[in-house]
């Protein structure tokens, strides 16, 4: 059962949210319960610390008179519950949702000015959470997870073409189907971490063998599925041919 936490500084809105959530859980038969409603972020954090598990959080963005705002509260919650669902409740004008989604992987935001809209938002969020949990159970996709300074990125391994050492020390560039970015790392470590699906074909390249399209033996170039090219060394040739013939 997923616990729901609500942090909201307006008592009336808090009560309305709680009532509607409980009603909605009953109607839809969700496996959730309202665990705690509070005006104070510390209460929420204490409760999460006491019983750490995946939860749902409805958080007000602006918490008047409290030491932290919704964003800082979200950061603290993320430290305790990395996979929880954060839904932000806001009066339209102070919205910075892209930032919230970027840093906190917030799920959604709800505008609280109009009760009908707020209820609609709550309904949609609960539905989205249920849908996502269902999807996660059936999901087979493997992800490559890497920390890029202050955020963590998850890239499906199947979408990675190759890694390249980018000129500077400890700098690796990931070439993906839909991503391209730099991060700090070492290609040797990546090689051991990623296992047999990736082959070190060159001093500077670690290639996803499943994504190779063709080999240009004359110029010692590999053409990847997305049209990108990378080099391979003489030593890697035999191994590459073997891998490609297996595909």
């Amino acid at each position: 059962m997923l616990p729901i936490y609500i942090c909201e500084d307006d008592g009336a809105v808090l009560a309305a949210q709680k009532e509607y959530l409980e009603k909605q859980i009953l109607i839809e038969g969700y496996d959730m319960e309202v665990a705690l409603c509070s005006r104070h972020p510390e209460d929420i954090l204490d409760a999460v610390k006491a019983a750490p598990r995946r939860g749902i959080y409805f958080l007000d963005v602006e918490l008047k008179g409290e030491p932290m705002d919704g964003f800082s509260l979200g950061q603290e919650i993320r430290k305790l519950d990395a996979r929880g669902f954060l839904v932000y409740v806001t009066s339209f004008s102070d919205l910075a949702f892209e930032t919230f989604r970027y840093h906190l992987e917030a799920l959604d935001y709800i505008v609280k000015g109009n009760p009908e809209k707020m209820y609609g938002g709550i309904r949609e969020s609960l539905a989205a959470i249920t849908e996502r949990m269902g999807r996660e159970q059936g999901e087979q996709t493997e992800y490559f997870t890497v920390k890029a300074l202050d955020v963590v990125k998850h890239i499906p391994i199947d979408e990675i073409m190759f890694f390249e050492t980018a000129g500077r020390t400890h700098r690796i560039e990931l070439h993906g189907k839909y991503d391209r970015f730099d991060f700090i790392g070492s290609i040797q470590e990546l090689e051991t971490q990623l296992g047999s699906r990736f082959l070190r074909v060159h001093r500077a390249y670690l290639v996803n063998t499943g994504r190779i399209w063709e080999l240009d033996l004359k110029h010692r170039e590999i053409l990847m599925e997305n049209g990108e090219k990378c080099l391979f060394s003489r030593n890697a040739k035999a191994k590459l041919l073997q891998v490609v013939s297996c595909l």
């Binding site: 339209f92 892209e98 930032t99 890029a148 202050d150 070439h175 839909y178 991503d179 970015f181 049209g227």
Partner: protein, 454 residues
Amino acid sequence: MVFWDMFCTNVAGVAISTFFLLLASRLLFGRRLHQFRERRWTVLAVTVLYIVSFALVGTICYKTGIFGWKYRMGKILFNYMGMLGSACYLWFLYGESFPVSWVSAVFFQMIEELASSFSLLFSQSGEFNLEIFHERIIYLFFTYLLTPMFHTALILAFYKSGVGGMCWQWVDRNKTRLRSLVFISMYPVLSQVLHMLVHEGRKAGEDNDMVSLMFFLVMFLVLSFEGREELHRKQMKVKQVSLQQQAAYIETLEGLQQEMRRFRHDYKNMVSGIYLQAKEGDLESVQQFIQDMAEDFDVQVGVQIRLLTQLGNVHMLEVKGLLLGKIKECSRDQIEFGLEVLRPLEKTRLRATDLCRCLGILIDNAMDEVRGKERPQIHIMVSCQEGCTTFRVKNKLYSQVDFHKIWQQGYSTRGTDRGIGLASYRNILGRYEDVFPSTAIQDGCFVQELKIQE
């Protein structure tokens, strides 16, 4: 040569240099004599007195052999006396403060010496025995013809190159004056010392170490002057940019005020309508009205206010200016501009100019992609967390792009002649160690990210 002869020759010489003194001061001061009409006879008398006493002192010094003193002490002494005389004379003529007159006198002395040494370049020995008639003729030729020519040329050159204006700027600036005053007053001593040093200096082949040293000093002076000028220019530029930004900011605020006025107008009409309905007890209409009002406000005025609130968190003037410019461009092209700056942006490790170029490239690309499309919008996020600043530019993708090709120079979805943007973006970032660019396609949007480790 007897005393009297010598004195007469000197009077003629001093008269000429006085003429040049007047000419130079007239041109370089850029104004007429002080109260010339009222006291022209006094001026004439003082001029005559000045010439005569100058010539007399010069003759006495020559005859008593003061010029022959050791280390050219006599020459220096004479120079100081002459300069003091000129300073008093100028002070009397123009009514400037004494330090200014003194500096001018030194300066004119320099010009005069420069002129005579130029002309003496053409003579063989540079020294004349005035007792011999033949040498006296040559001396007179140099003194009365060649030197005045050079003198005129020099004064005109200074006049044309605006040296007078520069001197006045220096005069106006009080702070550093004392030091410069002392330095300038040392001119006769310094010039003699330098002369001796150059003269006695060690000769290495064709070179003289003192000459090299002096050249080096001149270079140093020129460079430091240039550097100062450059700094000044840069400061001016920054000021200009910040002025422009303020102008743009005010313009935006004024636009906001216009919108508020429009809104107030509409709202008054609406309120008078709803008043009647409320009177009749039509509660539903009243509720509907209040709801519409709240939304209208958000759409009409709230959007602008929100944008300005976010922009207010950008404390780097350059970035603020850039964003303001882009906001204006977007509103012109009817592109919806989203901006989020949750925490204040104070500074980044990237130089402001580089950062602006990078952001400019990213935002321009995003704008080009959505311009003219259906519901065009771009979104910019600036996020400062502990130890890390993120800039994120996002736009909707309307066409399929070959994701890996955008990095190639010259590739563009917008036809030829475009697409140098991202390549130069990479070039700029290549100069920094702690910068992490990232590009992605997420949910049908093109996302460019620039992370800076602080």
